[in-house]
């Protein structure tokens, strides 16, 4: 590289790496935290909208103690309750229950990568239960009053996924439906043979991408999953398609009476909780931004101040050999911009990586990097660096060259 002002700045920065890194730490971490929060909340916002559309069910029966911060992960690894509750609901003949789908979900490892195995009970089997038959519902078309109507097309569309979330008509014991990210990760197609926990299954449906944790799910028969996981007769949730007018007439209360130790909520409530969380996160991000601007500019300013102080003699020498004050000014200004740039880019990378890697675990969301945040990160970081540095730079450009007289 040809020697230039830029060489001087870079060489000096690199030479005293340690102090520079600690000076940058606050900006980098701050930007990283904000980028991570933004990445998660923006995806989460989109997903909430999408999931409202995808959901067939509108009531969730969860075990007591399950968290409902995120509907899509509410059932994963939650405690369980007896599958027999399904029959209780059926025999109770509570009006307004149109249909339901019991599920058992657990995180498992396949070839070292984490997937969610979800057992679902096909509608046929629900309907064939003697009690169900006795209730006289058999034969009657199960038209859903509130949820979108069932889709009978054979091609795989989002409607199929709706069908999965709503209810699956029939499901063989050796058959699985896989989410899009599973299909991609394990490179499977319809007809592929797929082993889970030592048992082989045939992939019969590939579900379209949704951007939710559903993409990471494998759907199999509830009873098969129960056996595989060794928790027979238990489910982690029941999704119920209830009729809207009955819900407002106290359907939830009636369900609570017959299903002890469960938490019964409407999807609307859960989604609201999540929107609430999103709004809170946005506020947290704003408060953080203010703190970061203050702390970041203070720590950069502190570093630049120390840097100018220890280079007083060097600056005096440069002025003595004919550098103008504007050269000194420019050198420190460019240094501050470079530090801001580094902090912004680094912060963006750290924050985005954190969101992409941890998102699926912490928020149940598949998060894609947002390039736009890079420009914002750089802009904010450079502004912070300049805000913190202007006074040290001002001082640097005013150093009295007579300082070179002083020994050492």
């Amino acid at each position: 590289m040809v020697f230039s002002f830029r060489t001087i700045i870079l060489r000096e920065i690199v030479q005293r790496k340690g102090r520079m890194i600690s000076g940058l730490m606050a900006i980098t971490l701050g930007i990283a935290v904000i980028v991570a929060i933004q990445s998660v909340t923006s995806v989460s916002r989109q997903v909430v909208a999408k999931k409202l559309d995808l959901l067939g069910a509108n009531i969730m029966v969860l075990p007591q103690g399950a968290t409902i911060d995120d509907y899509y992960t509410a059932d994963v690894d939650a405690p369980t309750f007896p599958e027999e509750y399904v029959e209780r609901i059926v025999t109770s003949m509570i009006p307004g229950v149109d249909n339901m789908s019991p599920k058992l979900s657990r995180r498992i490892k396949i070839d070292g990568s984490s997937v969610i195995l979800t057992g679902i009970l096909p509608m046929k089997e629900l309907a064939s239960k003697p009690i169900w038959q006795a209730s006289g519902l058999i034969g009657a078309e199960l038209e859903l009053a509130c949820a979108p109507s069932e889709n009978k097309e054979s091609s795989l569309t989002e409607a199929d996924l709706k069908a999965v979330r709503k209810i699956v008509d029939s499901l063989r014991n050796d058959e699985i439906w896989v989410g899009s990210s599973i299909a991609e990760r394990f490179n499977v197609k319809t007809g592929s043979i797929f082993p889970i926990e030592g048992q082989t299954f045939e992939v019969t449906h590939m579900l379209p991408e949704t951007g939710t944790i559903d993409d990471n799910r494998i759907f199999a028969h509830l009873h098969v999953v129960q056996k595989l996981l060794g928790i027979e007769g238990q489910v982690s949730n029941i999704e119920i398609m209830g009729c809207c007018s009955e819900i407002s007439d106290g359907l939830l209360g009636k369900l609570r009476n017959i299903l002890p130790d469960t938490r019964i909520t409407t999807i609307g409530h859960i989604v609201n909780t999540q929107l609430e969380t999103n709004r809170l996160m946005a506020k947290v991000a704003l408060v953080l931004l203010v703190i970061i601007i203050l702390v970041g500019s203070f720590s950069i300013g502190n570093y630049m101040w120390a840097n100018v102080e220890e280079r007083r003699k060097e600056i005096g020498t440069l002025i003595t050999i004919g550098w103008g004050r504007r050269h000194i000014y420019w050198m420190f200004f460019a240094k501050a911009v470079m530090l801001g740039l580094a902090g912004g880019i680094l912060g963006y990378l750290v924050g985005t990586s954190a969101a992409v890697i941890l998102g699926p675990y912490l928020a149940g969301l598949n998060i894609d990097p947002v390039l736009n945040y890079l420009w914002w990160s750089i802009l904010v970081a450079v502004m912070i660096a300049l805000a913190g540095s202007w006074y040290p730079i001002y001082r640097a450009a005013r150093i009295d060259p007579a300082i070179i007289m002083q020994e050492i």
């Binding site: 040809v2 020697f3 230039s4 003595t320 103008g324 050269h327 070179i404 007289m405």
Partner: protein
């Protein structure tokens, strides 16, 4: 020609006035070799820095070829220092994180120009001072004498007419001091540079054509 007229520099410390220089008038012809001597605190460095446009005098003027330095704007003054003056200091003041050749290039940067050409010039200067095999060394990797020669090369970077040296041999052993004095004398004799040398050493002032003696800020001879 350097024409110093009634130069006075007064510092005020705790309501007491110190005349670092008092009513000093000298004319130094272009191409001369002048030594400035005097006891510690007599104003030698103050005089040298005033000549280099680094200290605003309290009274009087410094004229370089008829131009009063202190009527120049700060950026004109910087440019004057850059092109016309080469400073050599007692403590060398090399930039520690730059190599020898990069240190020599420092005064060239404000003038701009092709980086490769500048580098060639800098290498030539180091050559002249016998440092061609040390050009990529950092100051800490050089001996004291070599460091001072790099500092001289840096002072010569823009081919200045005047070399101002403030006790350049003060930190060197006698043999090295002689070596540096040889270099300065050569610059004066063979390159017709005006050399103004602040020194305590009689050997050094013996080489000079003019010896200016200062005492308590005043010129005594």
């Amino acid at each position: 020609m350097i024409d110093i007229r009634k130069l006075t520099k007064t510092y005020t410390r705790s309501q007491q006035q110190v005349h670092a220089l008092y009513d000093v008038s000298i004319k130094i012809e272009a191409g001369s070799f002048a030594a400035v001597t005097g006891p510690s605190g007599s104003g030698k460095t103050t005089l040298l820095l005033s000549l280099g446009g680094l200290i605003q005098p309290s009274k009087g003027a410094v004229n370089f070829n008829g131009q009063n330095l202190y009527s120049l704007s700060p950026s004109q003054l910087a440019s004057f220092r850059n092109r016309t003056i080469g400073f050599v200091l007692q403590t060398f003041n090399l930039v520690p994180y730059l190599t020898a050749v990069e240190n020599v290039m420092l005064p060239m940067l404000p003038l701009g120009g092709n980086g490769a050409d500048l580098k060639k010039q800098a290498v030539n200067l180091l050559d002249r001072l016998g440092l061609s095999d040390r050009k990529d060394f950092f100051p800490r990797e050089l001996s004291i004498g070599q460091q001072q020669r790099v500092a001289i090369a840096r002072a010569l970077a823009n081919e200045p007419d005047v070399i101002l040296a403030d006790e350049p041999t003060g930190n060197l052993d006698p043999a090295l001091a002689e070596e540096i004095l040889d270099v300065l004398e050569d610059l004066n004799k063979n390159r017709s540079k005006t050399v103004i040398l602040v020194t305590h050493s009689p050997q050094a002032s013996a080489r000079a054509g003019i010896v200016l003696k200062l005492r308590e800020g005043m010129l005594v001879s």
